[in-house]
């Protein structure tokens, strides 16, 4: 138990070492991985821990990204000030996405509805060019932190790493607490959870809002990272990649989110020269994971060493 806790402190410090050796491009990849860690962590809360088929993650991501972008371009806010608003925008979207779930919509009905919600959001990015730059996209200035302009990828790395570590630690605390227990209870048997006086609606809302917040913050980081937003970045293709993070990494597992994030950032790099091959590989990998390793990579690692076991996520 103590060992698992200290991993959260040690790992990021180890991550600082290669940073000193990486060039701009690889540092960019590491930063992208950090963004995807947040995406995976947020997604996992609703799909892995609460156990719902919600496909709304890209909507949260896009809303957070565009919220940050719009605030920097329209209101000239420095980037660091847009992080929390982006998170809140994502949380709000999370609340909206939870409405069908609160009314009892489950399983693939929920999936389809959240899918439609995501596509509706993407349509709105295209159709509000005055705010979002429409299909031409939105260019944002270099991210700024208390007056320090982060031009280089290395600069962004420090900030991203800090944000990710904070989010991961807090998420871990929540998932290990009665809240995480309530999520798992609902996932296992919703009726029984209600019979334990667990107000399931409240926890649905909490899970979705929390997920939305974390992914929204990830969106703000994404905006800072890429500097230019376009609606295509938030379509169903992106959704599948986000699914890959949590399914290949390990549903419900924080460690899994990290592993999955590393994987989906690394893979496209290997296949950059063959358009279409990457998608084929992704599809094949997910199929194989579902058939052969349904609990994801983290389950493999968890068997190797208990350090990789999340206490609230078990694979036996």
């Amino acid at each position: 138990m103590k060992l698992t806790r200290s991993v959260f402190w040690i790992a990021p410090m180890l991550a600082l070492i290669p940073h000193l050796l990486l060039n701009e491009y690889y540092q960019y990849l590491v930063n992208l991985t950090l963004v995807y860690v947040l995406v995976g962590v947020g997604f996992n809360i609703v799909v892995g821990n609460l156990g719902q088929l919600a496909f709304s993650n890209v909507a949260f991501f896009g809303i957070g990204a565009y919220a940050s972008g719009i605030l920097t371009t329209q209101l000239s806010m420095p980037w660091w000030m847009t992080i929390i608003p982006a998170g809140l925008a994502g949380a709000l979207a999370g609340c909206a996405a939870s409405i069908p779930a609160l009314r009892g919509v489950r399983l693939f009905y929920l999936a389809i509805m959240t899918l439609a919600f995501g596509e509706l959001m993407r349509w709105s990015y295209i159709r509000t060019p005055s705010l979002t730059g429409g299909s031409m996209g939105l260019s944002v200035p270099a991210p700024e932190l208390f007056g320090w302009v982060m031009e280089r990828e290395h600069d962004k790395f420090y900030v991203f790493l800090f944000i990710v570590v904070v989010v991961v630690i807090f998420t871990n605390r929540i998932l290990e607490s009665r809240i995480g227990r309530a999520f798992q209870a609902i996932k296992n048997d919703e009726k029984a959870a209600a019979a334990m006086a667990i107000p399931t609606s409240r926890y649905f809302l909490l899970a979705f809002a929390l997920s939305g917040f974390i992914v929204g913050v990830g969106g703000a980081m994404y905006t800072a990272l890429v500097g230019h937003l376009s609606p295509e970045a938030f379509d169903l293709v992106q959704l599948i990649q986000q699914f890959a993070i949590i399914m290949v990494g390990g549903l419900g597992s924080l460690v899994g989110s990290v592993l999955g994030a590393v994987l989906i950032t690394a893979t496209p790099e290997l296949f950059r020269d063959w358009p279409g091959f990457e998608e084929l590989m992704f599809g094949v990998v997910i199929v194989l994971v579902i058939l052969l390793l349904p609990r994801g990579l983290s389950s493999l690692l968890a068997r190797a060493h208990s350090v990789f076991k999340d206490r609230y996520y078990r694979d036996d």
């Binding site: 009665r178 227990r181 996932k187 009726k191 959870a193």
Partner: protein
């Protein structure tokens, strides 16, 4: 005033009346059983009390207040706890965590407190864990506390369910076929547990059961339901003699 008062309860599904004008009371510190042939409406009545079915007519009052319009979790929060026929156990959680889930209401702490590991939050969790281990120990399954619930044997799982339902000392306990699938020695143990909590803690128990011997031994009062109607209530001895009941399904 009785703990649970059911008056004129009726549940209709479209054209079918599953429960017809059922009325009875449950006093604290007693065990009341609900028996009857399959399809008699026992489960429907049970679910109505637990809030999972809506009454089409009549009322259900608990501790004097009407509960038939409340949601299941609100009813549970008021002190009506139940077990389920097919588990209802949280398989991914350990036995201990299942009990902690049952204690959910009692481990309150603010979100902020949880995030920063405030003293109150840590204290609440520690207290609950201690109590949960104690309860499991009293039932003789303390040694499996940290195993995932789905890995436990059938009898152990049933015990965990009961402990979980009892964790908050609920005034009313609803048991849905608690003895089904249990070996005779385990049934006897269960019987002992039920009588003990009823007599020592004054808990009221309402249970559905098919195992007649079990019912006859554990209950203070037995109610017989047939075709949605209450056709008999009384002590086990009275019910055993009742001609209508015998005709209905005991088949003797």
């Amino acid at each position: 005033m009785a703990l649970l008062e059911v008056a004129g309860a009726t549940v209709r599904f479209g054209g079918l009346t599953a429960v017809k004008e059922v009325a009875f009371e449950v006093e604290a510190g007693t065990v009341r059983a609900l028996i009857g042939p399959n399809g008699a409406g026992k489960t429907t009545l049970f679910r109505a009390i637990a809030g999972e079915e809506r009454l089409s007519g009549g009322s259900i009052r608990f501790q004097g207040a009407a509960i038939h319009d409340l949601t299941p979790h609100e009813i549970a929060a008021r002190g009506v706890r139940r077990t389920f026929q097919n588990g209802g156990l949280f398989g991914d959680l350990t036995a201990l965590e299942n009990i902690l889930a049952g204690l959910h209401m009692r481990t309150r702490s603010s979100l902020w407190g949880l995030l920063v590991n405030s003293r109150r939050a840590v204290q609440a969790e520690r207290e609950a864990t201690r109590k949960a281990r104690q309860l499991l120990g009293m039932m003789g399954i303390g040694h499996v506390a940290d195993q995932p619930a789905r890995d436990l044997s059938g009898g152990q799982q049933r015990m965990v369910e009961i402990v979980r339902a009892l964790a908050t000392d609920p005034p009313l306990l609803l048991l849905d076929e608690p003895a089904v699938g249990l070996a005779p020695p385990v049934r006897t143990e269960l019987l002992g547990i039920i009588r003990r909590v009823v007599e020592q803690q004054g808990i009221a128990v309402l249970l559905i059961e098919h195992a007649i011997e079990f019912v006859m031994t554990v209950s203070d009062t037995i109610m017989v339901l047939n075709n949605g109607e209450l056709i008999a209530q009384g002590t086990p001895a009275q019910v055993r003699e009742n001609r209508e009941v015998l005709e209905a399904y005991l088949g003797r």
